[in-house]
């Protein structure tokens, strides 16, 4: 192995830019790190080169642990995005710089720089200054400079980023050729998937600091394991499917395939991926000899030379929905790519009705929902665990239970108790005992792992410290929080509170995923707070009018789109509108509709001043008869 990185971690402030990344790169391999900008891929490269220190983890180059070495000691060739050529030196002086630093005699340096100039196709240009070269030529000088001292590995940070498309394509081929000739182990960082496909022996896909999948371009394109990888690499139509007797079903349609499928999900749910070229269009159903996905309207036709890319909207299909759900859409938007016939025959137009057939499909095993349960001495552990187990079963999720106490013995005792409560046989649950401050332990865990939801018990009334801890968690949790209280042990009806138009789209999408996985029905509640009498001494005490004002049109639209979003995922949804004191009305509706989960946004807290100095979130938390889910601004991970 030329490059091995183990469990690399890097934080900028509280934000994890590199989140436990491990990777091995074979001798002579060209590995592409592919990810959107800000995903942490360049940071990884800089850590390998020693330009940035890592907060955790180790880097090995050819078996040597270089984690604590300076860049000078690592012997890596690094090509920067803007090349960082030394402008005051000639091309030859630039290339010889690394040799000069290694005290190589002048004659040898000149020979080496001539050899490299020839290799990169710039023979005879050694006397020029960088400014006298084109962008593409400068890039090749940068590569030559990085290779001159025969580095142990070559690291390229977006090396084509600053070039125009045509030169980029030429240089890609040239680079691949050079890399194969020199046989240097290379990591190339890019956000361009075409570049990744063309250059990479293997591709590592990175998102938000995490290395999601590594594999050959074909493997990643044909059988990605995760939603992000599927959608980031090429066009993707993702739909929710189900395995029945080893066959994949999409709504009522059975996708024929020789392979028998199994899934981690207890109800056999998985994601079906259609690449745009996996779908075939026809003007009439009879023309299709393959399984038919449905009928739809062409919305847009894009001509891309050899390919034609079409955007369609399928008519809604029973029990079929698109993933990830988008807000307020009707029908199923899909992408299709096809090779137009050269005689222009059977070309499709926007607005045309077509049938869509399925040539091929791929399966993404659903990443199970991961729930983090925090238990400290003050919590009602039993109720929390029962609820957690229910959630795990209902959603096909995995539950991690963290027990926390100030001393080791108590923490372990709590873990043992928790294990006994659940019964050791549950494979869906794992247990950890932690010593320390409850808030820090929970937040540390919530950041380090990949969780979708944090489950907490309501703090006991007699413990002021538990109350403080709890409030801090509610305020700082990076994950959506579900506070377990009341006697409910199932999720059948979910109440989304949209006081003043909030919570927003994301909360509905997030809560909707929970509903989809538990099969719960939903209500979208809007409470008009304007007609509520204000609390507190100083505020203007408007009398509550008897007649509710008409719902503002933008809220009506928001509610309509919200229900549509939920219904598109196969969830039953209804709208309720009320006016009055926000918290009172929410609780009334929860009781009336027999809801067993209330979903609110944390940002309700931000609206306090407008709503008369009430901290809505904590008041609902205190008074609700059932569990409350607080959705944070960025629920990030899909359920």
């Amino acid at each position: 192995m030329s490059i091995v990185i183990q469990d690399l971690v890097k934080h900028f402030g509280a934000h994890a830019v590199v989140d436990h990344v491990s990777l091995e790169i074979h001798d002579g391999e060209l590995l592409v790190l592919l990810g959107p900008s800000g995903s942490g891929k360049s940071t990884i490269l800089r850590i390998i080169a020693g330009l940035i220190p890592a907060d955790g983890g180790r880097v090995f180059l050819h078996g040597r642990d270089v984690t604590h070495l300076t860049p000078q000691q690592r012997n890596t060739g690094f090509v920067f995005q803007n090349y960082s050529l030394f402008r005051h030196m000639t091309v030859a002086e630039n290339i010889e710089f690394g040799l000069e630093a290694r005290h190589v005699p002048k004659a040898q340096r000149t020979a080496k720089s001539n050899e490299l100039l020839a290799l990169v196709g710039l023979g005879g240009l050694g006397g020029r200054y960088p400014k006298q070269l084109s962008g593409g030529q400068q890039q090749r000088v940068a590569v030559a400079r990085a290779l001159a001292f025969e580095p142990s590995v070559l690291l390229l940070d977006e090396p084509f980023g600053a070039l125009d498309v045509k030169i980029r394509a030429q240089l890609r081929l040239a680079l691949k050729e050079i890399q194969q000739r020199v046989k240097v182990t290379t990591i190339l960082v890019t956000h361009d998937q075409e570049e990744a496909f063309e250059l990479g022996d293997r591709i590592g896909v990175i998102d938000r600091g995490r290395l999601l999948e590594v594999g050959s371009p074909t493997a990643l394109y044909r059988s990605p394991q995760q939603e992000f990888v599927a959608t980031f690499l090429g066009g993707a139509n993702l739909m929710a499917g189900q395995v029945k007797e080893g066959r994949v079903n999409l709504g009522s349609l059975e996708l024929s395939d020789a392979v028998s499928y199994t899934t981690v999900d207890p109800e056999g749910r998985l994601e079906v991926l259609f690449r745009p070229e996996d779908l075939t269009l026809a003007t009439a159903r009879e023309e299709l000899t393959i399984p038919v996905l449905g009928q739809g309207v062409i919305e847009q036709v894009l001509f891309l030379g050899t390919l034609q890319r079409l955007r369609l909207r399928l008519h809604p299909l029973p029990n079929t929905w698109r993933l990830p759900a988008e807000f307020g859409e009707t029908g199923l938007p899909i992408q299709v790519a096809r090779v137009p016939r050269s005689d222009g025959h059977l070309d499709f137009q926007a607005g045309q009705q077509v049938w869509v057939g399925i040539n091929n499909f791929h399966i993404l095993p659903r990443i199970p929902m991961r729930v983090l349960v925090g238990i400290d001495e003050s919590a009602n552990a039993e109720k929390l665990l029962t609820y957690g187990e229910m959630l795990a079963r209902a959603t096909g999720g995995l539950v991690t239970v963290v027990t926390m106490a100030e001393d080791k013995a108590t923490a372990e005792q709590l873990a043992i108790l928790a294990r006994e409560t659940v019964g050791t046989q549950s494979p869906l649950m794992e247990f950890h005992a932690r010593v320390g401050r409850a808030t820090d332990e929970i937040l540390g865990q919530a950041k380090a792992g990949e969780y979708d939801l944090l489950l907490l018990a309501e703090p006991r009334k007699d413990s002021p410290r538990a109350e403080t801890t709890f409030r801090e968690l509610v305020r700082r949790s990076p994950l959506p929080l579900l506070i377990v209280k009341g006697e409910q042990t199932t999720i059948r009806r979910i109440l989304f509170c949209t006081a003043g138009g909030e919570p927003g789209k994301r909360n509905i999408i997030f809560g909707g995923r929970l509903a989809r996985r538990t099969g719960a029905g939903t209500t979208l509640l809007y409470v008009d707070p304007a007609s509520a009498p204000t609390f507190g001494g100083g505020g203007p005490n408007r009398p509550a009018p008897n007649l509710a004002r008409p719902t503002p049109p933008w809220i009506a639209k928001h509610l309509a789109e919200g229900t549509l979003t939920l219904r598109n995922q196969g969830i039953s949804a209804e709208i309720q509108e009320r006016s009055g004191v926000v918290v009172d009305e929410i609780l009334k509706e929860a009781e009336k509709g027999e809801h067993d989960l209330i979903v609110i946004g944390r940002h309700l807290e931000g609206g306090t001043a407008r709503l008369g100095s009430i901290d809505l979130t904590s008041e609902i938390l205190q008074r609700a008869p059932c569990p409350v889910m607080i959705v944070t601004e960025d629920p990030g991970v899909s359920i």
Binding site: A49, G50, L51, T70, P71, Q72, R74, N75, T76, G77, F78, F80, N82, S84, F86, R87, H88, M89, F97, G98, A101, R102, Y129, K131, Q132, R145, A146, F149
Partner: protein, 270 residues
């Protein structure tokens, strides 16, 4: 697109040229006229006075010393302020501009407060038997102080613009920190640095109030060229005063224009 109206740019050019002419060119011409009022022979004769030569010599020594000190420390300070993160960086960054806003006369007075007979460092001065206030070392302190911001302020934006990457590139290529500084950082900032140096030189040569207070303007001992001009004007020796002024002005001009030519020439290739 419509052509912009012809008279607007012309008017602006007129204003700019007139402004520079009235404020800079006219006074310079007046000095030249004054210096050569009685012919070239008298001009050169007045420069040949030993007192004038001594004054010039002191000015040049002070200026060169200030340039050397401010180049070395100014470059270091600029690099630290741009590249390093440390507590109080913003404060020190603001502190650099202090010499711009403090009157040189006050600076001279500060030297006396520190190194005078009643000053903070009086015991030290006594113990080492070195005269600082009312002597050349005090004048040097003032000159360094008033010309301190130029190198720093000229180098900092250049360092910032170049960015950290050329230095990082040099590190990955195996160059030590020193080699990186000499071969990569210095050449990168050289024009900013040279510009800063020439401003430092001009400022140091032209310093008057501070060196007057700190040095006391003793003829032949602590009298610089500018102090000589002041004294000569006081004694109504106008030709001498103008002649020295002309030489000082010419010197500064030459430095600035020489720099500009050098820069233009290298910019073409690099």
């Amino acid at each position: 697109m419509r052509e912009p109206k012809g008279w607007v740019p012309k008017l602006l050019i007129g204003i700019a040229v007139l402004y520079l002419a009235v404020l800079i060119l006219l006074p310079v011409l007046a000095i030249f006229q004054g210096a050569f009022a009685q012919g070239a022979a008298v001009f050169f004769e007045s420069l040949n006075d030993p007192q004038v030569i001594a004054a010039f010599w002191l000015s040049i020594q002070l200026a060169i010393a200030a340039v050397v000190i401010n180049t070395i420390f100014g470059t270091t300070v600029a690099w630290v302020l741009v590249r390093q993160e440390f507590f109080g960086r913003a404060f020190f960054n603001a502190l650099v501009d202090l010499p711009f806003v403090v009157s040189p006369v006050i600076t001279g007075y500060m030297v006396i407060l520190l190194f005078g007979r009643q000053g903070w460092f009086a015991p030290l001065v006594k113990a080492t038997d070195t005269q600082i206030a009312f002597a050349v070392p005090g004048m040097l302190l003032v000159t360094v102080f008033v010309s301190l911001p130029f190198v720093i302020r000229e180098v900092m934006p250049v360092l910032r613009e170049i960015g950290h990457e050329p230095e990082q590139a040099a590190h990955t290529l195996g160059a030590s920190s020193w080699r990186t500084f000499v071969r990569v950082t210095m050449p990168g900032i050289r024009w900013g640095l040279l510009y800063g140096i020439s401003l430092t030189l001009a400022r140091a040569l032209g310093e008057f109030g501070g060196v007057l207070v700190a040095g006391g303007a003793v003829t032949g001992k602590t009298e610089t060229a500018t102090l000589y001009i002041f004294a000569a004007l006081d004694e109504r020796q106008y030709i001498s005063a103008y002649a020295v002024a002309v030489v000082l002005a010419l010197f500064s001009f030459t430095v600035l224009i020489g720099m500009e030519i050098l820069r233009k020439r290298t910019e073409i290739t690099q």
